[in-house]
């Protein structure tokens, strides 16, 4: 984690015009939760993309990918006109490690490698600790895919958003729901793109579009190294569960919310070999980029809606003329 923190400071130092570090929360063990805000400086308020990594401690490929993603943004925006445009129109909020305590714990030694939760002590009388942060968000909290046994790996916490780490996202993103167009949360393993919602009977109004964009992103990912990523709602392709960050984000009105489950498909599982970090990140980047580009273009490049605006204006003007002429005559 120390390496990641130092690296974040380094990135800010090397790219002062486009990167700022924002400390937006504290973990249970009082460590700082930080993100890098990346985007061309602008006088007016900008739209934004949210990405968080490392919500589950053992999913080490996830923080690695956030770092890769940040590097890619900073390397390509100066030479790639599309990225330059996106950096001008949007800010990227990227959190390399959300569950700092859990992540650090998973690095302690071989016996801690498979830790998942955060490190909050359990309720009174419980001999275990930790809450599954991706069950702790305030959406259908404590209903599906959880266990109230505090030793369970999917213990959702003592109440919705009881956890400091979940609170940090809830506050930061919650204050910016008009600004944020897309919420991406990165996990492993399983090679999937999950769309809201985690409950089998709750359907996002834009589910068709989410599936379409997701499938196209998976196609793009497959082109990179041939790896298949399955797309769908969690109840369809994985399992039902409540209290997830992507569900919460979607319910806040952020139209595009995806969970990425990166490599692999179970051979190495959480302990992905080092030589797969680069290819896994490359394919994930191309998938994320596809989604981000779609979201950006939908917001900023709208030929049809421009015509609709013009038509709307004409209509209103005509109506006004009609009404006034009627009244006068």
């Amino acid at each position: 984690m120390g390496e990641i923190t130092n690296w974040m400071d380094q990135i800010v130092k090397e790219n002062p015009n486009v990167v700022t570090k924002v400390d937006y929360g504290k973990t249970y063990e009082n460590r700082t939760i930080s993100l890098l805000k990346i985007g061309s400086k602008s006088a007016s308020a900008k739209k934004a993309i949210w990405m968080d990594c490392g919500i589950h401690a053992r999913e080490w490929i996830s923080p690695a990918f956030c770092q890769y993603f940040i590097n890619q943004l900073l390397q390509t925006y100066k030479t790639d006109p599309k990225m330059e445009q996106m950096m001008k129109n949007m800010d990227f909020y990227v959190t390399p490690v959300l569950n700092v305590d859990g992540y650090i714990y998973s690095w302690t030694d071989n016996s801690t490698r498979l830790w998942r939760k955060n490190r909050t002590p359990g309720p009174e009388g419980c001999e275990c600790l930790g809450t599954d942060l991706n069950r702790n968000f305030d959406i259908n909290w404590g209903t599906l895919g959880i266990s109230f046994n505090c030793c369970s790996i999917v213990y959702p916490g003592k109440s919705a958003v009881s956890e400091a780490e979940a609170q940090a996202i809830t506050d930061f993103v919650g204050n910016r729901t008009d600004e944020i167009l897309c919420f991406l949360t990165i996990h492993s393993y399983g090679q999937m793109l999950l769309i809201p919602y985690g409950h089998p009977n709750v359907i996002a109004p834009n589910e068709n579009e989410l599936m379409e964009v997701g499938l196209a992103a998976a196609e793009a990912m497959k082109k990179v190294h041939g790896k298949q990523y399955t797309v769908g709602t969690s109840p369809d392709i994985l399992y039902s569960f409540s209290g997830s960050s992507k569900d919460w984000a979607r319910l806040q009105g952020i139209p595009f919310a995806f969970t990425f489950e990166l490599r692999d498909d179970g051979t190495y599982g959480f302990e992905l070999p080092e030589d797969q970090i680069q290819p896994a990140s490359e394919e994930a980047y191309s998938g994320a980029l596809h989604i981000i580009t779609h979201v950006h273009d939908k917001e900023f490049i709208k030929p049809t809606s421009t015509a609709a605006t013009v038509a709307a204006m004409l209509w209103t003007t005509m109506m006004a003329v009609f009404v006034t002429s009627t009244v006068i005559v």
Partner: protein, 283 residues
């Protein structure tokens, strides 16, 4: 004049409809959320309400029912044909069908692709998986037919490895395969493969329609001395169950020799380990 305006307005309406503004469609979901919180009972682990209306008939191959059943086929194939040099992994589900069998359970028919990991060869298989229902929970029953795949010849490698260990005066042991960084020493890979095959016996036994098992890690392996032809190993294996996300620890006594294949002689599920190794100074 008025008539002309009416005509223009009508034409405009025809083209664009009434003026529209895009609204973020989050409002309607609040109702759903409230309805669900009222209806929903606390459910642990998987949602049993949903399971009752599980898909029957033709299955979406990407959805979990077919995927979980197909994983069972992977485990089964490994128990029959796996070795320290032959490990099979589910690659894809092409199609699937499910039907209820009276009150006794559910039967799946699947067309899948399976990959042998070491030779990197793929082949298609047709399989049937039967999950029993009711008080007597048996392990799933599997039948499978694979083209080509099972003809892979690993006799040379297996014999060489077997002879090497038989001649060796010291007994092998290792821990954490793979290690935290996904690394396995080349010499230890056959022991890791052997573990995958041995775990397949457990994963097959333990599988239901509500589980998806993978071997997460070999915590440790110790070769035991034997007088017989068999090589014997004691393993502590960590399984990952995807639906509950739990890590389940199993102690296995495993034997292997090329003619007889992999056998699990003893198996013991170990209790949940919350903090497996306490740091030295807390005791």
């Amino acid at each position: 004049m008025r008539l002309k305006i009416i005509i223009v307005l009508t034409i405009l309406t025809g083209i664009t409809g009434s003026p529209s503004i895009t609204i973020r469609p989050e409002v309607e979901l609040v109702d759903n959320k409230q309805r669900i919180s009222e209806q929903q009972n606390l459910v642990t682990e998987t949602d049993e309400v949903v399971e009752d209306v599980m898909a029957t008939g033709e299955l979406n191959p990407n959805h979990y029912p077919a995927q979980r059943a197909a994983k069972v086929v992977q485990h089964y194939i490994n128990t029959l044909y796996g070795s320290p040099f032959k490990v099979f992994h589910l690659h894809r589900v092409h199609s699937g069908n499910a039907e209820d069998v009276a009150d006794s359970g559910r039967k799946y028919q699947l067309e899948i692709s399976v990959q042998e990991m070491i030779s990197n060869t793929s082949g298609k298989c047709s399989a049937e998986v039967f999950f029993s229902r009711g008080d007597k929970q048996h392990s799933p029953q599997v039948q499978v037919m694979c083209e080509e795949l099972l003809k892979i010849n690993t006799t040379k490698e297996e014999d060489a490895f077997y002879q090497h260990l038989k001649k060796n005066t010291s007994l092998l042991s290792a821990e954490y395969l793979p290690d935290s960084h996904g690394h396995i020493e080349p010499d230890m890979k056959p022991l890791w493969h052997l573990a995958s095959v041995a775990s397949s016996f457990i994963m097959l036994n333990e599988s239901t329609q509500d589980t998806l098992f993978n071997m997460a890690q070999v915590a440790n392996v110790t070769q035991l001395a034997t007088e017989s032809d068999q090589l014997k190993f004691e393993y502590l294996i960590l399984l990952h169950e995807m639906v509950s996300q739990e890590i389940i620890r199993w102690k296995l006594l495993v034997s292997w020799c090329p003619p007889e294949g992999v056998k699990v002689l003893q198996m013991e599920k170990l209790p949940h380990c919350h903090e497996c190794e306490k740091p030295p100074n807390t005791n």
